[in-house]
């Protein structure tokens, strides 16, 4: 084994990390800038965070995003887990390979296309666009990610555990809830967290499928920024980064726990 990093490796690592995280670091630092001018440093302050609390439009958008994220992640987790279990259980299911391949389609599909197809679909079935269409769109897209995460866990799952539960008198649904779910829940929770962040993050699909009165945070920020960067935007972005970072850390801890089990 190598003892440490050589000088070249260390430099490469530092450059790589800087490339990834310097823009974020600058944004976070400037969110604490006193100056109204985004490019001029005027000393430390939390005034933009206070201002944020007074910005109704931005807060409404944040609330919409949280609501959409929460509902869509929960629905995607339930549907995605059921899909993963169905695919894993049906060991002789002939179309299993094709179904598994279909799961990847929404992941590799360009978001613009996904957004457009969903928009056309909602128009075709004459569904009024709003919070619910964005939620439905997010369920569609994030469900596959949940399925993939849960499927990875189920690959090593001992199905005789579920058989044993039924053998001992538990009907199939109870066998699943009492034995299978407690054993795979870290994967389900990791899937939920991923679905939640993806939903919170999404601009393209939400823009296609949203309607009046349903402005999500990314849409709000994007339209604000087109009129020039306000310091409040830095502040709200910092809050979002912190949220996403917490969620990602939680998800990776859950995944680790799962691996250690």
């Amino acid at each position: 084994m190598r003892k440490g990093l050589s000088f070249t490796n260390l430099t490469a690592l530092a450059l790589g990390l800087a490339f990834l995280y310097l823009p974020i670091a600058i944004l976070v630092i400037y969110s604490f800038n006193t100056s109204r001018l985004v490019t001029v440093w005027g000393g430390w302050s939390t005034r933009w965070y206070t201002a944020l609390l007074a910005d109704r439009a931005l807060l409404d958008a944040a609330f919409v995003s949280l609501r959409v994220g929460f509902i869509s992640a929960t629905a995607a987790s339930i549907l995605g887990t059921l899909a993963a279990v169905a695919l894993a259980r049906a060991r002789l299911f002939r179309l299993r390979a094709s179904f598994s391949a279909l799961l990847y389609a929404p992941i590799v599909m360009p978001e613009v296309i996904t957004g457009l197809t969903l928009l056309l679909f909602f128009v075709a079935i004459d569904l009024d666009r709003g919070v619910w269409t964005v939620t439905l769109a997010h369920i569609t897209v994030t469900m596959c990610f949940v399925t993939l995460i849960v499927q990875a866990r189920l690959a090593s799952f001992d199905w005789s555990l579920e058989d044993a539960a039924m053998d001992l008198g538990a009907p199939p649904s109870r066998a699943f809830l009492a034995v299978t779910l407690p054993l795979i829940w870290p994967a389900v929770a990791a899937g939920w967290l991923l679905a939640f962040t993806l939903s919170l993050d999404d601009l393209v699909i939400a823009s296609f499928t949203t309607g009046p009165g349903a402005t999500t945070l990314p849409i709000r920020i994007y339209s604000d920024v087109r009129l020039g960067v306000k310091p409040e935007i830095n502040a709200i972005c910092t809050v979002m980064i912190a949220t996403v970072a917490l969620v990602v850390i939680a998800a990776s801890l859950l995944t680790k726990r799962r691996a250690a089990h």
Binding site: L161, D163, D167, L168, G169, A175, L183, H261
Partner: protein, 366 residues
């Protein structure tokens, strides 16, 4: 032990299970009586687990019926009064030992006090009373095996199905556990059906056993019936060591048959009523049924063969000799090592005289 008039505890009635083009079991018919310790024995892949899974309800027969005490068994697994002990034990890893045993009783909705009493009774039965709070991963393999047994027995099943329950244990522990299992079965009086590929294990634990061959039953009987009266070459060869001599029937009467075997000359064997003169048959002769006398001393038994020892396999309590006859055939002969350090067994290169009784040879037409 069993009431002849009562229907068998478990009956397989012409049961077939196909997986695509693979026939896992083929028109299996088998009666297992109440209170019996029954073993399904066969090489791996011959279709031993499939009948258990069908009886437990995890899978359905393609054809045929399974009857429990005379009533067709069609309910889903959670409603069948049979329980299964899995090869992997399938203990719930997120529950303690006591919770594992409690699980099945809770599903029945028994009163709390009765559940608690039954759980402690079961843990005592398998000598795990002190370990109820442990998680399965904190137990040894032997302890896990006992938890699985206690969990399956807690529901007082009419039939307990055991799929290779001892396969994961080391040899010594396995031998001890076989006796424990037998004692337990006798004490509870529950019908046990065990699946194993280990013939010693089947013979040790079972009252009766079925030797399986590619999805069908080759022979059903008590262990000694199967060992001493195998019905076919397959059974004779699968159970224990055996010499199989091929030959042609020369004479046959009510008490014996005379067979001309290549490399041995004429051998008198036990009766073979179905054999006809001129037909090709096989003689099964167990190595321990052959008496060895060194040098010129005469032995007992109607049959006598001389040969040279070509190989000695020392096994501790006995040695397995390979003897080449004058005509060049090989016979396996076992000798018991009764005395310590005494050179009572023949050595390689020595010439020996082998004798064996006609009654100890089984003539097989299949």
């Amino acid at each position: 032990m069993s009431d002849a008039a009562a229907p068998p505890a478990l009956r397989f009635d012409g049961v077939t299970r196909r997986f695509g083009s693979v026939v896992a079991i083929d028109r299996l018919s088998l009666d297992i009586f109440a209170g019996e310790f029954f073993a399904l024995l066969g090489p791996s892949g011959c279709g031993k687990s499939t009948p258990l899974r069908l009886a437990a309800g995890f899978d359905a027969p393609s054809e045929g019926r399974i009857l429990l005490h005379g009533a067709p068994l069609t309910a889903p697994p959670h409603l069948r009064p049979v329980n299964m002990m899995f090869q992997s034990y399938a203990l719930f890893p997120h529950m303690s030992v006591a919770d594992n045993v409690t699980f099945g009783l809770k599903q029945e909705g028994l009163p709390k006090a009765e559940i608690a009493a039954r759980v402690s009774e079961m843990l005592a039965l398998v000598q795990l009373s002190a370990l109820g709070a442990r998680k399965p991963h904190q137990l040894s393999g032997g302890q896990r095996q006992r938890v699985a047994l206690a969990r399956a027995l807690a529901k007082r099943p009419q039939v307990l199905l055991l799929d290779e329950p001892l396969a994961a244990l080391d040899k010594k522990l396995r031998a001890e556990t076989q006796f424990e299992l037998k004692r337990l079965q006798r004490r509870l009086g529950t019908t046990f059906v065990i699946v194993t590929h280990d013939q010693e294990e089947a013979m040790t634990v079972a009252d009766r056993m079925a030797v399986m061959q590619a999805g069908t039953v080759a022979q059903v009987g008590t262990p000694d019936e199967i060992y001493e009266h195998p019905a076919s070459r397959y059974v004779a060869d699968f159970i224990g060591d055996v010499n199989l001599l091929q030959g042609r029937v020369v004479r046959t009467d009510a008490s014996s048959v005379v067979v001309a075997c290549d490399g041995f000359g004429e051998i008198i064997a036990g009766p073979a009523p179905e054999a006809r003169v001129g037909e090709t048959i096989w003689l099964a002769l167990r190595p321990e049924k052959i008496a060895v006398s060194e040098g010129g001393r005469a032995g007992v038994g109607q049959n006598e063969v001389t040969g040279t020892v070509v190989e000695v396999g020392y096994r501790g309590e006995q040695s397995m000799l390979e003897v080449r006859t004058a005509a060049g055939s090989i016979l396996k002969v076992s000798v018991t090592n009764r005395r310590r350090r005494a050179a009572d067994g023949p050595a390689v290169g020595e010439s020996v005289r082998l004798t064996f009784a006609a009654d100890d040879i089984v003539a097989l037409t299949r």
